[in-house]
Symmetry: none
Subunit: 203 residues, 4 copies
DNA sequence: CATGAATGAGGCTTCATTCAT
DNA sequence: GATGAATGAAGCCTCATTCAT
């Protein structure tokens, strides 16, 4: 049931706006639902219900389930990346990692799903994770370069430096239900992980 | 005892052996198939076909799909654990990590599936991963304790020491197709990871 | 209320009607099919085919096979009961039994299936039979009470009076194919049963 | 595992005897199992297990499941019939009905299964029930004839006289779980049914 | 465009029956 | 003859996707 009695009465631009809005809403609610029940176990019907639209509407906006997930994931990737850039602007390694954790913590449920289930999803999911990591990597590399030069942190190959950090964080996220049942892992262990990691890479 | 008493007396070497063999074969082929197509995306019919038996035979040996997967995973866990204990017998931290990589490398495809998909599977999958890690943790802790005492490696909380290593290894495994397409990651990056990690934890 | 609020407002006469119709059609055709092939031996696919819909459609309307059967049986129970009340309104014992036979005759095939297979079905089937019998019992008790008081029929415990009648009728229904092959038993033997039974209970 | 090391050592007659014995045993245990779990819901594997033989042995003795059931039912029919003849030898109507109840009570569980599920089974099941009833009918008819002539019981068409009785008894058997949960119905209600019925048919 | 009923391919599981030993 | 592992034809149910309204 639309807001208008006859479809043709709606001005074109209005209609398009409406459509874009529905699409956006769908992405938002899908995001929530996927974070809640997982990327694999959420059915298109669940998403439709969560968004308060008909099941068919999902396919009016996205040709396939995969396309919707890809969109949600991409959207998410863009937001996280933006946020990380915001937070991590040119500080020390310590500050950048802190910003990274803060940024992830804001999206922990969905990000965790991506870490856990990403490898079962369309390539876009993987690419998004790569993109997010690039954002961090970018800032971290610069800071690390500086601090290596300044003798603050050890000289280590950048990719290993970075992957050690990511590996550590992902490991805690993926096993959050074991490490910190019922409570965000990053909240509970973030500080500890950060300090530990800094210890490791500090001269 | 009547003639209808049941047939537990003599091992009935012929038939029972045959059945055990089929069961074993099924587990082996399931193992391969699961390693190849993933734990989520492998259907019971695929396993039957891979094993060269009828679909029904799968259920003559395992009551449900889950039971079969659990069996395969447990079997796998036991083998890996045993192997890790074999390899990691009381050496230095370096030797133990080397042994760990060697042990995992022998089972890389399946282990990778477990790391990637474990969180979507019956609890047994998680438990198996925990068990495997316990095996490594056990040896690593002892060696690390010694070497910390000897001033060879840094004093660090054991769980962080361990999880940093596991996180790093799992991260490379989970993304093996990106880091090392078409070739086992551990073969390509194992040495590098090991040396890097040792650098980090060395005084 | 947003535009995504759900659509309970207007009856959406078109679609909802259509769905209800399909559901009803499904129940009707299931009813026929079950009467024809029996409650045990009718598969969901048969019902779908009989209704001219896809197999999946059955489950779009009823969560399980059992739920569908239960629905059909309940619907049937309600109809028969209503009909029996209609027919049996406060007459003599003779009239009530006549009404009972007439009511059953209208639904003989399905009712016979229920009598034959009821004990193998979900509880709802039993309950429905009980409900139907309660309807008759209610009217019969009242009339019998009156006629016993008036010395028209013998003084007999009500439950035995009733169960004798039901037992007789069910026996003929359950063996209808022997007593009256290719033709409704009640049509052929109803009158005779009624007269016989009245003879028995008459002073 | 047979009692003999080599099959050919067994004398022909011995073997045949053995086979007949197994067959008999199978029928006996099938009888118990069918009485316990019902004719529809008992699987051939259950029967084999109950008999302590292999699943295949069932099919070595009976070509199909139906053939086995038929055999069991026929065997049962013969026994009940014989027993009924034994018990019901030429007494009064009262004595004959009493004998009938007594005879059925000895086999109540299986007989009840037959009454409940008979119409879903191969024709032989129906025929057996008919045969059993013929046995009773035979004695009852003679006695009833006498007592009608003697003015003890009413003059009623024999088939109605008989079917009223059978209908009543079957009704209580089929609904035994409702009328007398956890206890044989005939034990609890037999006497009452008998007296009630006699009242009905008595002048 | 939005709707949601209908679709149907495909997955898991059961069980009477077969057959090599 | 007895065995029991293996078979495979069904049966129930799920869910992404389509399409008439």
């Amino acid at each position: 049931m639309t807001q208008y009695a006859g479809v043709d009465e709606m001005p074109e631009s209005q209609r398009q706006k409406q459509k874009k809005q529905t699409r956006k809403h769908l992405i938002t609610m899908a995001f929530n639902q996927l974070a809640k029940d997982g990327l694999i176990n959420t059915r298109t019907a669940d998403i439709a219900k969560a968004a308060g639209v008909s099941h068919g509407t999902v396919f009016a906006h996205f040709p396939t389930r995969d396309a919707l997930l890809t969109e949600v994931i991409n959207e998410f990737g863009a937001r996280v990346t933006r946020r990380l850039h915001e937070l991590a602007g040119g500080g020390s390694v310590h500050e950048i990692l802190e910003a990274h954790l803060k940024g992830l913590a804001e999206f922990e449920p969905f990000y965790t799903r991506l870490v856990r289930e990403g490898s079962l999803l369309p390539e876009s999911a993987r690419n998004t994770l790569i993109m997010i990591q690039s954002a961090v990597s970018f800032h971290l590399s610069q800071a690390a370069e500086r601090e290596m030069a300044a003798g603050i942190i050890r000289r280590l190959p950048m990719h290993l430096l970075f992957n050690t950090w990511i590996g550590l964080v992902h490991y805690y996220l993926a096993n959050g239900d074991l490490f910190s049942p019922g409570k965000p892992v990053l909240e509970r262990y973030g500080k500890e992980l950060l300090e530990h990691y800094l210890t490791l890479i500090t001269e």
